[in-house]
C-alpha cells in the first residue's frame, strides 16, 4: 500500500520537476530541477528493487552527466545582451524532433503489456550480484562492444576538444 502512495508521489515529483526544467528561465535552475527528476526516477527503481540501477542512475546521470551539463551552461555566455536568438528554423526543427520522440514513446507504450511488467516486480534480478552474473555470462558481447563505444566517444571528445584548443 505504502509503495503505491510512494509511486504516485515520486511520479508527481518527477513530472512536476521535469516541467519546471522546461519552463524555468535560468538554465542552472533547469539543471537543478533535472537532478530532482533523476532522483525521483531513481526512487522508482528502488520501488522495483533494482538497487544497482538506482545507484547507477544517481551516480552517472545526477552525479556525472549533470556536472557536464553545468560546465556547458557555464561555458555559454549567459549575459543577457549576448544571449543568442534562436532562429525560427531551429525552433521548427526542435518541434519536429520532439514530436517524433513523443510519437515513438506513445507507440511503444501502446504496444507494452501491463501484465508483463507486473511479473518482473518483486524479484531479485536488480541486485548488484545477480545483475553481474547475467551481465558477465549472457550479455558479455554487448558489454565488450560498449567498451568500443567508450573508445569512440573518447576519441571524438579529444578530437573536438583539441580542435578548440589549437
Amino acid at each position: 500500500m505504502i509503495t503505491q502512495y510512494l509511486f504516485y508521489f515520486l511520479s508527481f515529483v518527477a513530472i512536476f520537476s521535469a516541467l519546471l526544467v522546461v519552463f524555468s528561465k535560468n538554465p542552472v535552475h533547469s539543471v537543478l530541477y533535472l537532478i530532482i527528476t533523476f532522483f525521483s526516477i531513481a526512487g522508482h527503481y528502488f520501488l522495483l528493487n533494482a538497487q544497482f540501477l538506482a545507484a547507477v542512475h544517481i551516480i552517472v546521470y545526477a552525479g556525472a552527466i549533470m556536472v557536464l551539463f553545468l560546465y556547458v551552461i557555464m561555458m555559454l555566455n549567459l549575459n543577457k545582451e549576448t544571449e543568442p536568438h534562436k532562429s525560427t528554423m531551429s525552433k521548427f526543427a526542435a518541434i519536429i524532433a520532439g514530436g517524433l520522440m513523443m510519437l515513438s514513446l506513445v507507440a511503444v507504450l501502446r504496444g507494452a503489456e501491463v501484465n508483463q511488467m507486473k511479473a518482473s516486480v518483486n524479484n531479485n534480478i536488480g541486485l548488484t550480484q545477480n545483475l553481474g552474473k547475467v551481465l558477465f555470462n549472457e550479455y558479455i558481447l554487448p558489454f565488450e562492444v560498449s567498451a568500443i563505444l567508450f573508445l569512440a566517444a573518447m576519441v571524438g571528445a579529444v578530437y573536438l576538444g583539441k580542435k578548440q584548443l589549437d
Binding site: N26, V28, H29, L32, I35, Q51, F52, A54, A55, V56, I58, I59, A62, G63, A64, V67, L70, M74, L127, T128
Partner: protein, 343 residues
C-alpha cells in the same frame, strides 16, 4: 517495528550530532595542531586551553552580517552551501559505528542501516559534493569564485575515478558492497590494509583531494584566488562551507578505517572474554580512536606539505593515480587467481 524505527531515528540524530561536534572540535584541533607544529601556542583565551574557542567561532559566524552581492544569483547563492552541508552529512548513516548490543532482550546494531549497495551509495554522495562548490562559485558572479569553483570541481571529478577504481580492488576481495559486511570480514585475521596497501594509498590521496584539503586545496588557494569559491560568502553560509570540509574529513576518516583498518575491530578482541555490550562499547571507542588518528593525519599533512600546482595536481590524478589503480585491479586479480582464491 515502531520501536525499531524510533531507535533508528534516535541513532540518526545521535550520529548527526556527533559529526557536528567532532567537526566543531576538529576546527579547534586543527588550530592547536598547527600551533604545535609551528611552535606557537594556538587559541588559549576562550576557556581553559581555549577549549571554548569553537563555540566562540560559531557565535561569531551567526552574528555576522549576511551579504548577498547584488550581481549574484540569489537563490543559487544560498543553495550552494546548503548542498555542500547536506552531502557532507548524508554518509554517516551507512557507516558501522560499532557492533551490536543487547537491551531488554532486543539486539540493536550501531550501524543504522546496512544497505547492500553501501559503497555505491557512498560513491553517489561523493559525486554530489561537486555541486555545492560549483553552484556556489558560479552564483557568486565573481571571477575568483568562478575560477576556484572550476578548479575545485574539475579536481574532484578527476580524483573520483581513481577513488572508484581503488575501491573495486577491495570489492574483488570482499565480494560485497555492504560496509557492515566488509568490517565483519576483518573480524579475525588481518585487516584489508595488509592485502591492499596500494589501494589504500590511492584511496587516501583521493580522500584528500575530495575533501579539498591541503596539499590539494587549490580551490581556496588564497595567494592566487583570494578565497576561492567562497570569496563572496559571509556569516553562516561561509560557515557551512568550512564546516562541511571538517565533516567530510571526519566521515572520510571513518570510511578509510572501515575499509582498510578493520573498522571497529581491534586485535585479540575475542581473547579478552568480554561480554557483548562491554565489547561493543570498547569497539566503538577503538573505532573513534582510529578515526581521530586519521583526522590528525589529515591535519599533519596539511601543515607539513606545500600546495600542489594545478597542472601537477591534474597530472597526478589522471596520469599517475588512474593507471596505478588499474594496475592495482590487475595485480589483485592475478594474485587471487594464482593463490587459488577464485574458481
Amino acid at each position: 517495528m515502531t520501536g525499531y524505527i524510533i531507535y533508528q531515528i534516535i541513532l540518526v540524530v545521535a550520529i548527526f550530532t556527533v559529526s557536528l561536534v567532532v567537526a566543531l572540535y576538529a576546527t579547534y584541533g586543527e588550530r592547536k595542531i598547527a600551533a604545535i607544529l609551528q611552535d606557537r601556542v594556538g587559541p588559549n583565551r576562550a576557556g581553559p586551553f581555549g577549549i571554548l574557542q569553537p563555540f566562540a567561532d560559531g557565535i561569531k559566524m551567526f552574528t555576522k552580517e549576511e551579504i548577498i552581492p547584488e550581481t549574484a544569483n540569489g537563490w543559487l547563492f544560498i543553495i550552494g552551501p546548503c548542498i555542500a552541508m547536506l552531502t557532507a552529512c548524508m554518509t554517516g548513516v551507512i557507516i558501522p559505528w560499532g557492533g551490536t548490543f543487547e537491551l531488554g532482550g532486543t539486539v540493536y546494531s550501531l550501524q543504522v542501516t546496512d544497505i547492500n549497495i553501501g559503497i555505491l551509495y557512498l560513491f553517489a554522495v561523493v559525486s554530489f559534493g561537486v555541486y555545492g562548490i560549483m553552484i556556489g562559485g558560479w552564483a557568486s558572479n565573481n571571477k575568483f569564485s568562478l575560477l576556484g569553483a572550476l578548479r575545485a570541481s574539475s579536481q574532484m571529478i578527476s580524483y573520483e575515478i581513481a577513488m572508484g577504481m581503488s575501491i573495486i580492488a577491495l570489492v574483488m576481495m570482499t565480494g560485497t558492497l555492504s560496509l557492515g559486511e566488509i568490517v565483519k570480514q576483518q573480524d579475525d585475521g588481518y585487516c584489508n590494509f595488509v592485502y591492499q596497501p596500494l589501494g589504500f594509498l590511492i584511496f587516501l590521496i583521493c580522500a584528500f583531494a575530495e575533501t579539498n584539503r591541503a596539499p590539494f586545496d587549490m580551490a581556496e588557494c588564497e595567494t592566487e584566488l583570494v578565497g576561492g569559491y567562497h570569496t563572496e560568502y559571509s556569516s553562516m553560509k561561509l560557515g557551512f562551507y568550512l564546516f562541511a570540509e571538517y565533516i567530510n574529513m571526519f566521515i572520510s576518516s571513518a570510511v578509510i578505517v572501515s575499509f582498510y583498518f578493520g573498522g571497529y575491530n581491534f586485535p585479540f578482541q575475542h581473547e579478552l572474554g568480554l561480554s557483548g555490550n562491554l565489547l561493543t562499547v570498547i569497539q566503538t571507542i577503538v573505532f573513534f580512536g582510529k578515526i581521530f588518528f586519521f583526522i590528525f593525519f589529515f591535519m599533519w599533512i596539511r601543515w607539513t606539505i606545500p600546495r600542489f600546482r594545478y597542472d601537477q595536481l591534474m597530472k597526478l590524478g589522471w596520469k599517475v593515480l588512474l593507471p596505478l589503480s588499474m594496475a592495482n585491479i590487475v595485480i589483485t586479480g592475478l594474485v587471487m587467481w594464482l593463490t587459488g582464491k577464485i574458481n
